[in-house]
Amino acid sequence: MNKSNLPPSRFELEVPNKLKTEEMTLSMGPQHPSTHGVLQIILKTDGEIIDSADPRIGYLHRCFEKHAENVTWHQVIPYTDRLDYIASMNNNLGYVIGLERMMKLEVNERAEHLRVIVAELNRIASHLIALGTYGLDIGAFTPFLYTFRDRERILDLFEEICGARLLYNYIWVGGVAYDALPGWRDKVLQFCDYFLPKIKEYNDLLTFNKIFIDRTANVGVIPAELAINYGMSGPGLRGSGVPYDLRKIDPYSIYDRFEFDICTGRGEMGTVGDCWDRYWVRVAEMYESVKIIRQACEAMPDGDAKETVPRNIKVPAGEYYMHTESPRGELGYYIISDGGKTANRIKVRSPAYSNLSILSSIAPGVMIADLVAIIGSLDIVLGEIDR
């Protein structure tokens, strides 16, 4: 990254007696414990303080967009699973709704409710990973295990409904792959009851721990304008105080029927837009997701979820940009069809991709330990960034 392009470093170190000092170039990753995957960051450091950070991505590039042009419309869905592998349901949902809107297809009520329930469960699962690994980045091991313990319960629910624990391929064009078994809804509600007290436990252990607050508050502050300019979205943008949640702003599926709040960072522990705010938005969103799940479970009609799934999908020629709110932010599919059996072009606007690009702008002047905290608070998934 061209240095003149960056904002001036916040630390200008004074060197007495014109002592000759050197910048140290440090390659953080791609096999570093806290880069959340195969991300490489070329750091230039002055002691513990970072002068510049240049993220290098592409180590996990799997040619999703090229694949998508070569397989049929339906066969893309398993590939979308593998984008953001922590929140596959949300990936499926965005792509499928995009196609349905192009085809002007109606989905029956039960399938819509099931979609919302699984997407929100998946959001909780994803936020749990974000919380746990964030604790790990900061140095606390135990919250990680607790969040994974609770995530397992969500995965059990998913396994019961669609047979897979990570890559679901569940939401299909026109409906969902499997209808929920009787009793599944009660299990989801049971999970909600089980889960809410657990959030308090995470808060006791991690969120309000003084050391954790010291490590994250006032660290990696992203002002709202900068966040918008960099195209941040999701908890990253909401942490900066911008109430941008596509579930409210541009409702898809049946999100307009449910009552929930957009959580934004308020700078309770430090400045608006610091790491703690981004973290706290995730915690608060889990409460909102539970709210949505409860409402959807109450409202879910009986019937068959599968009835309108078409066998052979033909998407009319045209193009559509479908954006949904994935746990990481605005997940966009720009789909171009020429009316054939395969897509002409599918571009994925992955949220973590834009979120990560802000790193080189906020990293100068922070410490290495803070950089780890910042990366963790952005909650990146390299599968989605590299595609």
Partner: protein, 168 residues
Amino acid sequence: MNAREIHDQIKEKFPEAILEFNDTVQQPYLKIAPQPFYNVCQFLRDDADLDFDYLMCLSGVDYGDLLGTVYHFYSMKHTHKIILKVEVPRENPAIPSICDLWRTADWHEREVYDLFGIVFLNHPDLRRLLLPEDWEGYPLRKDYVTPEFFKGIPVLHSEMKSETNEQK
């Protein structure tokens, strides 16, 4: 503000810039000539009535005989959207970079350069992003042929080739 009004605003300011306007499709778009594109974008961002401060998506597209980029803009304040398209010829494709207006464009333009070979003028740091720096060719172009070897490493495994289902 809907697409028609946005179109009128731009038309008023840049009468020459708009090549095509289509609001019969699901998501209306404007086709802009490459030369005034940067100024149009600056206008979109800075005008108080338009105030497009959020670049949602920037994608490269191969239209067959033309290459193009598609920009999806959104305004946080006015909550309206617009899509701009720029098309350039296959040979020496160049589009002005809007990286200094929306920093989102920085990586997205690098990605488009990486996969389509469209050069973004005035981009501060136009390198390959997803592929290795010494990769040859632009894989997302429709006429891209997968190379047999990359630096002596076979790209497609010979077994894989024979095993793919012929019946398909």
